[in-house]
Symmetry: C2
Subunit: 358 residues, 2 copies
C-alpha cells in the first residue's frame, strides 16, 4: 500500500513478522545512522529483532518511559540532545518502535531536527497501525492540551508487523478498535456493519480479521491524507470523537484513559450530540453506543464533570474564531464538520455522558 503525496509518497507494509525481515529495511531505509526511539514496554519485546534487521547501520537507541504522560516537550528536547551528542547529520533517520505516543514524539523530533530528517514508523499497537503511524501528524502534549505542539512530517516508510499484536494487552487492542470504528462511522457504513458482525474475532486478536481491519483503515486514511494532507478540509473528519476525547484525556492529565478509550467515549458523545441536534436518528446512535460498549470501551466519562470537559475543549485545536467546531454524524458512514449547533445540544451531551462519581 502507498500513501500518495507526490515526491513524498511512501509505502505502508502490513504483514506478520515484518520486523524480522532485514531485506525490507535494506530496500526501504538507506540512512547509515539510525536513531531508534522506543519505550520500556516495547523495547524488551522487539528492539533486538529490529536491530538485527538493521545490521550494518550505526544505531543509537533511546528508551522512554511508557505512556501518554511522557509525550512532552522536555522528552523531545532529551532526544534532540542525544542526536546532537552523537553528531547525527541531516541524512540520518529516526525510527519509532512503539505505539502512538512513541510515534508522535519521535516524528516531531524528526520534523524539527535540522529542519527535518527521514522518519520511519514501526507501529506495535493496533491504534498506531490503523491511525497514528499513517498521515504525518506528529507532536507532543502541553499541560494545557493534547497535541498542542507539533508538525506535519510524513514518514518515508511504515512497517506494520501484525505479529506484534499478539503481545498487545487486551486493553490496548480495544483502544485501537475505537479508531477502527471511527473509520466506519465517518466513511464506510459497510465496514461498520462488518465490524458489528466480526467484533468477537477482533477481540480475540484473530490475525486475519485484524489484518483486514488494518488494511481497510489504512486505505481510508491514506486516501484522505492524499487529498488533504494539512487538514484544510476533509481530513478534519478524522477528528470524529476527538474533540470530546482529547478533553477527557486532558481533564484526567492523560492518566486515566488510553487515547483510544477516550476516543471511544468521544465517539458516543459525538453520536449523542448529533442526535441532540436531530442530525442523527436515535437507532443509529444506539448502534454506535452498542458497538463501543461491546468493544469494552467506555461510553461515558465518570470522573470528569461536564464543566471540566467543556473547559478542556475550549483550548482544543478545533476552536476557530472563538467557537468550537465539531465533527458530527448524519448517519453511519456520513460525517461532517460544523460550528453551527444549538448550545444546549452540547451541554445536554456533556451532562448525559460526563460525571457521576463524586
Amino acid at each position: 500500500m502507498h500513501v500518495e503525496l507526490g515526491t513524498r509518497s511512501y509505502p505502508i507494509l502490513i504483514g506478520a513478522g515484518l520486523i524480522a525481515r532485514a531485506e525490507l529495511f535494506r530496500e526501504h531505509l538507506k540512512a547509515r545512522d539510525v536513531l531508534i526511539v522506543s519505550d520500556t514496554t516495547v523495547a524488551p519485546l522487539y528492539l533486538g529483532s529490529l536491530k538485527a534487521s538493521l545490521g550494518g547501520k550505526r544505531i543509537v537507541e533511546v528508551i522512554l518511559p511508557d505512556g501518554e504522560a511522557h509525550k512532552t516537550l522536555p522528552n523531545v528536547s532529551r532526544v534532540l540532545d542525544i542526536l546532537v551528542a552523537n553528531r547525527f547529520a541531516r541524512d540520518c533517520a529516526i525510527l519509532a518502535l512503539g505505539g502512538g505516543v512513541i510515534g508522535d514524539l519521535a516524528g516531531f523530533v524528526a520534523a524539527c531536527y535540522q529542519r527535518g530528517v527521514n522518519f520511519v514508523q514501526v507501529p506495535t499497537t493496533l491504534l498506531a497501525q490503523v491511525d497514528s503511524a499513517v498521515g504525518g501528524k506528529t507532536g507532543v502534549n502541553h499541560p494545557g492540551g493534547k497535541n498542542l505542539i507539533g508538525a506535519f512530517h510524513q514518514p518515508v516508510l511504515v512497517v506494520s508487523d501484525t505479529q506484534t499484536l499478539a503481545t498487545l494487552p487486551a486493553r490496548e487492542l480495544r483502544a485501537g478498535l475505537a479508531e477502527v470504528i471511527k473509520y466506519g462511522l465517518i466513511f464506510d457504513a459497510a465496514f461498520f456493519a462488518w465490524l458489528e458482525a466480526h467484533l468477537e474475532q477482533l477481540l480475540t486478536a484473530d490475525r486475519e480479521a485484524l489484518t483486514h481491519v488494518i488494511r481497510r483503515s489504512c486505505e481510508i486514511k491514506a486516501a484522505i491524507v492524499g487529498r488533504d494532507e494539512r487538514e484544510l478540509a476533509e481530513r478534519a473528519l478524522l477528528n470524529l470523537g476527538h474533540t470530546f476525547g482529547h478533553a477527557l484525556e486532558s481533564a484526567t492529565s492523560y492518566k486515566e484513559y488510553l487515547h483510544g478509550e477516550a476516543v471511544g467515549a468521544g465517539l458516543v458523545m459525538a453520536a449523542a450530540m448529533s442526535r441532540e441536534c436531530a442530525f442523527l436518528a436515535p437507532e443509529a446512535y444506539e448502534r454506535v453506543h452498542r458497538l463501543i460498549e461491546r468493544a469494552g470501551l467506555p461510553t461515558r466519562a465518570r470522573s470528569v464533570t461536564p464543566d471540566a470537559a467543556f473547559e478542556h475543549m475550549r483550548i482544543d485545536k478545533k476552536v476557530l474564531g472563538g467557537r468550537l467546531r465539531f465533527v458530527l454524524l448524519r448517519g453511519i458512514g456520513e460525517a461532517f464538520v460544523t460550528a453551527d449547533y444549538p448550545a444546549p445540544a452540547l451541554s445536554r451531551t456533556l451532562a448525559a455522558h460526563c460525571g457521576g462519581v463524586s
Copy 2:
C-alpha cells in the same frame, strides 16, 4: 514584491514608516488574536507604534532578552506556554518584531503551535530585512550547534520598515551587509560591483541605497526560495560562508560575533578555500577580502583555533555521509556546492583565518 509559493505565496512590503500604517495590517492580517514576540532592545522603540496599527485586535506580547544566546528551545517552550495560557486558537497569528533571532524563534513557535499558525515578520535589522525574514527558515540553536532545531514555515506577510534602520547600531548595519555581499557573490556580479561602488553610502545608512539593497536582496532570495523552498538543491547556495560562520558562532558560544559578522569572516574563508582549490582567481579573492574589510567586518577569527573551528563544523547541517559540503566560488557571482575538495585546502584555509590570540 511577492514570494511565489503557490497557495503559500506572500507579499514583502518594503518602505519607510510602514509599521505605523494601520491600513497595511488591516488589509494583510486577518487574525483576531495576535501574539507579538519582540526583544528588550526593539520593543521600546517600535512596539507602541505597531500595537497602535493593530488596533481592534486582541494582542498579547512576549519580550525576550536580546541576543543570539536566547534563541533556545527553553524560550520556545516559554512562548508556547503563553499561547496556551491565553487560549490562542489555530486561527491566531504570531508576529515577530525584531531581528533574525526574534524572527527565527517566533517563526519556529508559529510552525509548532497547533501544527502551524499564521506568522508575520516585521524585521527591524538590515540582516533580517535582506535575509532571515524571507524564505521560511525558522529555528533555534542547540548548545551543540546553530539552528539544529527548526522547521520550514513561511510567513504570510513580511513588513520591512526601512525607518527602523535609522536606529540600528552601526555594528548591526555592518553585520547585515555581510548577507547583502553574499547575494552578490552567489548570483550577481553586477550587484557586487554596485556594492563596491556604493559601500560608503550604505555605511552611513543612506536610505535610498539601503532600500535598493533590501529590494535586490529580497528579489534574489525570493526567486531562489520560489524554486527550491526546502533546500533540496539551489537554495543551498545561500549558505555561502555559513558553514564557516556557524562554526565560529558555535565555537564562541554565540557571544563574540553577531551572525552577520561570523558570515563576513565565513565569506572570506569560503573565497580563500575556493582559491586554495584553484577554483577562484587570486584577484577575485582579493576583491572579496577587501569589500568585507571595508564593510568593517572581521576577515579572520582570532579567538577560535583552527581545530575548534573544524570540530564545530562537523555537526553542521551541511554534513552528508560523514563529509562536509561547502559552497565555494568559481568567480564573483558564481557559487556551487561541493563535497569534493582536497582536505589540505580546508586545513590551510582554517590555519590562515583562525586563531592568533593565545
